[in-house]
């Protein structure tokens, strides 16, 4: 292929290959718009937008870890209990006066250690992850009760709370209650995104690879732009960018990069896709499974401090059913129960679908019992749609 010639992809085959990704985002958009009508647009206002993100940040974080576990072909039922356990530890650490930074670092460390513990049983003792994490679910709930004496631990001051509900703002950039920091950060992120897309496309063309038609390329850039700028505008007119959005954003970007661009990421997909074949291809599959569970543990640590901050105390009953929300997010987001298929972005979109439904129904004064019923149906239908399209298109 001569240099400089642009090979354009066939639009139809491109859509066919990515139909799953598109339809998830479309589903999220439809749900948001439907609730906008049902709630007279309340769900789209700045304050609500900020709240949705903060209230679901720890679930979204857990979904990022869970998607790795699910891609590698396992499941983790222990995350709720682990979050409660580390939450209690983080409260104790913080109250002892070591400061917020060290509290976060040590909490993540405890999570990693828990991950090592469960990972050894799963990867090397070859006990099914379902069993190990089921045991972990009971074990860490029990330990939480033991260390907390089954009573909440209050946080001694308000600094911890800032982790979850705090905002990142530069005071000089706040004019008439509009937080321009959010706009500027949004614009910067968007600029970086556009640059990386252009560089990626250029080098693909240089190497003679297929690229999407220029129209599709521009369309995508504009849509993403509207999304990013829309989001930062919402933040700017309420209280600025929530700290958790930065934490979440960095986590999502980091693990998207890990899964898409790194050797360990490819190994995770390979082991989940066909463990025996991966092993024969020279992959240390035990190590891959182990690492995934360690990562999940670390993310539990991060989610635990954010949740504790959000509640402003560590509750012995914290985190109940978190694992189910995280797992649902992954499957709504297109992961395969048999492993090997799934994306970080998909899990996040799946988590947001659930969040939007929860929030919209709350705004309509529909109570939790019905929210469960609706979420159950969404999970069933989303996975059915997934299986249906895969069978029809013969794609993975």
């Amino acid at each position: 292929m001569a240099q400089g010639t642009v090979r354009s992809m066939n639009l139809r085959s491109m859509i066919k290959q990515n139909i799953r990704n598109y339809s998830m985002v479309m589903m999220l958009a439809v749900i948001m718009i439907a609730f906008a009508f049902l709630t007279d647009g309340v769900n789209l206002n700045s304050r609500n937008f900020t709240n949705i993100i903060i209230q679901n940040s720890y679930i979204l974080l857990l979904a990022v870890g869970m998607i790795l576990v699910i891609i590698v072909g396992n499941i983790d039922l222990s995350v709720g209990s682990v979050v409660a356990f580390i939450g209690a530890i983080s409260a104790m650490l913080y109250n002892s006066g070591i400061g917020l930074f060290w509290t976060v670092v040590l909490s993540i460390l405890v999570g990693l250690i828990i991950g090592v513990f469960q990972g050894v049983w799963i990867a090397y003792a070859k006990i099914p992850a379902f069993i190990v994490t089921l045991a972990g679910m009971m074990l860490f709930r029990g330990l939480t009760y033991i260390i907390t004496n089954v009573s909440p631990i209050a946080i001694k001051d308000d600094e911890f709370k800032q982790l979850a509900s705090g905002m990142v703002n530069i005071d000089a950039l706040t004019v008439n209650n509009v937080y321009y920091t959010a706009i500027i950060v949004g614009a910067a992120v968007y600029l970086l995104y556009v640059l990386s897309e252009i560089i990626g496309r250029r080098s693909k063309i240089k190497y003679g690879f297929e690229v999407p038609p220029i129209g599709v390329f521009l369309f995508k850039i504009i849509i993403i732009g509207l999304l990013i700028m829309g989001l930062s505008q919402r933040f700017s007119t309420y209280r600025g960018i929530p700290t958790v959005v930065l934490v979440l954003g960095v986590t999502i970007l980091f693990f998207s990069f890990i899964t898409n661009n790194t050797v360990i990421g490819r190994y995770i997909y390979a082991v989940g896709g066909n463990a025996r074949s991966a092993k024969l291809s020279g992959i240390n599959s035990e190590l891959v499974v182990f690492v995934v569970h360690v990562i999940m543990g670390g993310i539990c640590g991060l989610a635990a401090v954010i949740f504790t901050g959000y509640m402003n105390s560590a509750l012995p009953q914290a985190g109940v059913n978190f694992e189910l929300d995280a797992i649902s997010a992954c499957f709504i987001g297109g992961a395969s129960t048999s492993g090997g298929i799934g994306t970080v972005i998909g899990a996040i979109v799946g988590g947001l679908v659930m969040a939007a439904i929860n929030n919209g129904m709350s705004l309509m004064n529909i109570q939790a019992p019905w929210q469960y019923v609706v979420k159950a149906l969404v999970l069933l239908l989303a996975v059915y749609y997934d299986i249906y399209t895969r069978r029809k298109t013969g794609l993975g």
Binding site: Y207, F209, N261, Y267, A270, G273, S277, K279, G282, S336
Partner: protein, 507 residues
């Protein structure tokens, strides 16, 4: 007019791209022991699957008559009801159930859905007596050896009032004593009026027990002999089994061999589940630089097991023996270490062991070489895509794009992807296991060219193959295996199909 219990007329069965059975006709007399012989892939198992209804009526052409009536089986259940039972090479017992439960599984009578087990335990004793198995009916079958499990299978067939019993390689996993007992049992069953069809590679057993022998070759019925009348000999049978022409053209090459690069001494491999059974027994061989060394032998000879065991302990509960690579003794504990030591393995089982079917062509090709294609743990996608594109061109992988999922490719192209993966990892010694199984003629010849190119570049290949012409056409030397042992070695000059079969099946 039921002199023949089973009659097959002009049976043809096609699989995509392959004609497995081609106009086969066969007659089995009531009450005889009829043996069917043929090389791997001659169509024996397919034929039995048609007879027993695994392939339902309508998926094949031709007619099958059982007890004088044309059969219309939709599943194995139908044929069992008719009094036809098949015992497969791989036993089909439920391992964690007891003997008596296995005997009556699937055909027990219940009263209001409740099973009277005591009645069945009593009945099972009768059948166990008949097959000469002195075990408590409550014994869990996985606790017994393979030989005894086989007897349970036969007891199970008897409990279904079998009239025609098909045994597929019944003695392949038995030792001499057990085999002798089994043959004795088959004679007894004959005396009771049960007809037996026995598929076997062990020609001495065939001549010992069979009344009639039919030889299949390349899906065709070649000859039928009356063992006594025709004074049938093993040589005669072998000639019929291999009488295949060397029709495929093999690429010419210079045979330039260098120093020994791999040497294996007294390598034994133990069964993954039955830790005391040796699957491979004291195999010793060597491979030189620039050489294609073929391993031939019937199915179950232990070739794949030997190779996978050498390739970083990928098979078996344990192994013993010495492996030397490039003059140095090595111990490879995982495929990863094997790859680092310069080995590459292309599995016979593409779909389960060779490829990740839900991933695209590119990812499958690069998976063994990602550390090479990356910096600081980040994959260089451009290099990866270039490498995949290069092999797509070189090996002529027919796919719309390297982003296509491998499960959507044909068998031949999947095999090329598996080969590409191995090529990209750039080993010195390739172990290629049945590289042309189940792929069409055109792709076969392309695979032969790829293999030839590899040795021309000074690499070495161990070629495990069941196709004798392939071994003779490609290899510098041929090791012949059977029953877990290397029975002999032939050079390119002396190798003929008949000699290989003689070494494998006699002595």
């Amino acid at each position: 007019m039921s002199d023949y219990i089973l009659e097959i007329k002009n049976l043809t069965k096609d699989f995509p791209g392959v004609r497995a059975l081609d106009n086969v006709s066969l007659k089995v007399k009531r009450g005889e022991i009829h043996s069917i012989c043929g090389e791997n892939g001659a169509g024996k198992s397919t034929l039995m699957s048609v007879i027993s209804g695994v392939y339902p009526k309508g998926t094949y052409e031709g007619k099958v008559f059982f007890k004088g009536k044309e059969t219309h089986y939709h599943s194995v259940k139908d044929s069992e009801r008719d009094g036809l039972a098949i015992i497969h090479q791989e036993l089909a017992l439920s391992p964690y159930l007891s003997i008596y439960e296995n005997i009556f599984l699937g055909h027990m009578k219940t009263r209001f859905g409740i099973i009277n087990w005591n009645k069945y335990i009593k009945e099972s004793r009768h059948y166990l007596e008949q097959v000469g198995l002195h075990e408590n009916p409550a014994t869990i079958v996985s606790k017994m050896g393979v030989g005894k499990q086989q007897l349970v299978e036969i007891a199970r067939a008897l409990s279904k009032k079998v009239e025609l019993l098909i045994l597929d390689e019944p003695t392949s996993s038995l030792n001499d004593e057990e085999s002798e007992k089994l043959l004795q049992l088959i004679r007894q069953l004959k005396a009771q009026g049960i007809t037996c069809i026995m598929i076997s590679h062990k020609l001495n057993e065939v001549l010992e027990i069979a009344d009639t022998v039919t030889v299949l070759r390349d899906g065709k019925s070649i000859s039928t002999y009356d063992v006594k009348q025709d004074q049938l000999t093993e040589s005669r049978l072998i000639r019929d089994m291999v009488g295949r022409d060397l029709t495929t053209r093999f690429p010419e090459r210079e045979h330039k061999v260098g120093e020994v690069v791999m040497e294996v001494k007294n390598w034994s491999v133990y069964h993954p589940d039955y830790h005391s059974i040796k699957v491979v027994d004291s195999a010793s061989f060597y491979v030189r630089k620039g050489e294609i060394v073929a391993f031939c032998g019937p199915m179950g000879a232990g070739r794949t097991e030997l190779m996978m065991s050498l390739y970083g302990q990928s098979y078996g509960s344990r192994s013993e023996g010495e492996l030397y690579l490039f003059g140095k003794k090595v111990e490879l504990r995982s495929p990863r270490e094997a790859i680092q030591a310069g080995l590459g393995y292309v599995s016979e089982d593409r779909k389960n062991l060779g490829l990740i079917l839900i991933q695209d062509v590119k990812s499958n090709i690069s998976i063994s070489s990602l550390p090479k294609l990356s910096r600081l743990g980040v994959v260089n996608t451009h290099e990866e895509i270039s490498a995949a594109e290069r092999y797509k061109e070189e090996l002529r992988i027919k796919t719309p794009s390297i982003m296509q999922l491998t499960r959507n490719l044909s068998g031949g192209n999947q095999q090329k992807v598996a080969l590409s993966k191995c090529l990209l990892a750039d080993p010195e010694i390739f172990i290629v296991d049945e590289p042309t199984r189940g792929i069409d003629v055109g792709a076969k010849s392309e695979i032969y060219h790829i293999l030839t190119d590899i040795v021309q570049k000074g690499k070495s290949i161990i070629l495990v193959t069941s196709e004798l012409p392939e071994a003779i056409g490609l290899a510098d030397r041929i090791y012949v295996m059977n029953e877990g042992c290397i029975k002999g070695m032939l050079t390119r000059e002396e190798a003929t199909q008949e000699k290989i079969m003689h070494i494998a099946l006699l002595n």
